[in-house]
Symmetry: C2
Subunit: 240 residues, 2 copies
């Protein structure tokens, strides 16, 4: 969070222009001058350890965040204390936009493994959006995308079976890995079975059994968190 990041060995990218993720979180049509302006306001944080919170529900909303490395989950806690995982955030993805509505975060965000995030103070982002219309547009689009993502999840929870839900999540992670030039067929799940179940409205036991069945059908090879997709067609057919 300090301006010393340039000297920190863990922060190899010191500005957005050099960041390997910029194609994912920045608007494509940005002038290099504009990237520099954005750089000015983005704060690159030092690495966060596993299970460290980035913010807690109820805290005053100040910033949105971009994942630089590692992975983050968002979750809400309802009155009766039970958690609901609302999203998994991989490198290049933005989170924290739920806080805008009420000036307080409604979710908590926590590093699922060692992670680095960029903090973008929202008031400065708003100012900059007035100077750079394509940035305004980009943020409207990001928020809209979040809405459509949530609506996909709503449909999934409302209409689909356990197998369909798990298949859909696996394909989503596979696609997001492809977007960042990683393998779409062999990857490591950053989250626990419990998180998967919570996110998909299933129990851990059901998630475990679905993984078991998928292996028996030669759809996947599962070794703990390591996944290898063996049959994309069948998986896609399931996810529909």
């Amino acid at each position: 969070m300090s301006s010393m990041d340039a000297k920190c060995p863990h922060n190899t990218e010191v500005n957005c222009g050099d960041c390997r993720m910029n194609a994912l979180c920045l608007p494509l049509a940005l002038q290099s001058k504009e990237v520099a302006q954005l750089d000015e306001i983005v704060q690159r944080g030092r690495p966060l350890q596993k299970d460290r919170h980035i913010y807690n529900a109820g805290e005053e909303f100040k910033s949105v965040f971009a994942v630089r490395s590692g992975s983050v989950k968002s979750y809400t806690v309802s009155n009766d204390g039970q958690e609901q995982v609302t999203g998994f955030h991989l490198p290049g993805e933005i989170f924290g936009m739920d806080g805008i509505a009420h000036n307080h975060y409604t979710n908590s965000a926590l590093a699922m493994e060692t992670a680095a995030v960029c903090e973008i103070p929202f008031s400065r982002l708003q100012e900059l959006s007035i100077a750079i219309p394509s940035l305004q547009r980009h943020f409207f689009q990001l928020m809209s995308k979040e809405i459509t993502n949530d609506q996909h999840l709503i449909t999934l929870l409302s209409k689909n079976s356990a197998e369909e839900r798990v298949a859909t999540l696996l394909l989503s992670i596979s696609n997001r890995n492809l977007r960042r030039q990683l393998s779409g067929s062999r990857f490591r799940l950053p989250m626990s079975r419990a998180d998967i179940g919570n996110y998909l409205g299933l129990t851990v036991e059901t998630v475990s059994r679905v993984f078991g069945r998928f292996q028996k059908q030669d759809l996947l090879r599962v070794d703990k968190k390591e996944i290898e997709v063996l049959d994309f067609d069948k998986l896609r057919a399931l996810a529909n």
Copy 2:
């Protein structure tokens, strides 16, 4: 959609400043000059009959909409053809923001009863947002609110029983009626049992049975679509 609205007997409000709903859909801190600018771009549509679409999924995204009277539902259709109701929109509420992300609507929107909506061309709204920062802020907030709403629904679908889901929906509608100075305890549901079930991830039969049980427990009086809430405390306890 024409500029003749002032002469149309069904459109009693000819500008946002006079509209009974403006406290709900406009930012509060707007100067009257700014309201006039907004008025300039808002197109007041003539009344829509029941079951008329405002837009269809896949159409090019041009505008967001505000409900002036009546009620509207949004829904998506998945690959296999099944519908998912993603929201009910009552007077004063904004819809259509799902279209921003991909320049095409992902939902279809349809009048559940005779309704009137205002159309707000999004490109003009973006321009105006640059001139009126509080309008930009307001739209960011509206979209963020949509995100938190969707996340509430996700939690509801993922963690709550049929009774809890129905109770939550009834309280939501009750509260939204209160916001527009209507009774929170006696109201008419604009949507069918099928829509309620679809929205809440339940079958019509289950919705019907839950209404039956709620009546037997003297929680509600139900007469077709007419609802009277008899015991708010118990209903709130259920909805948690």
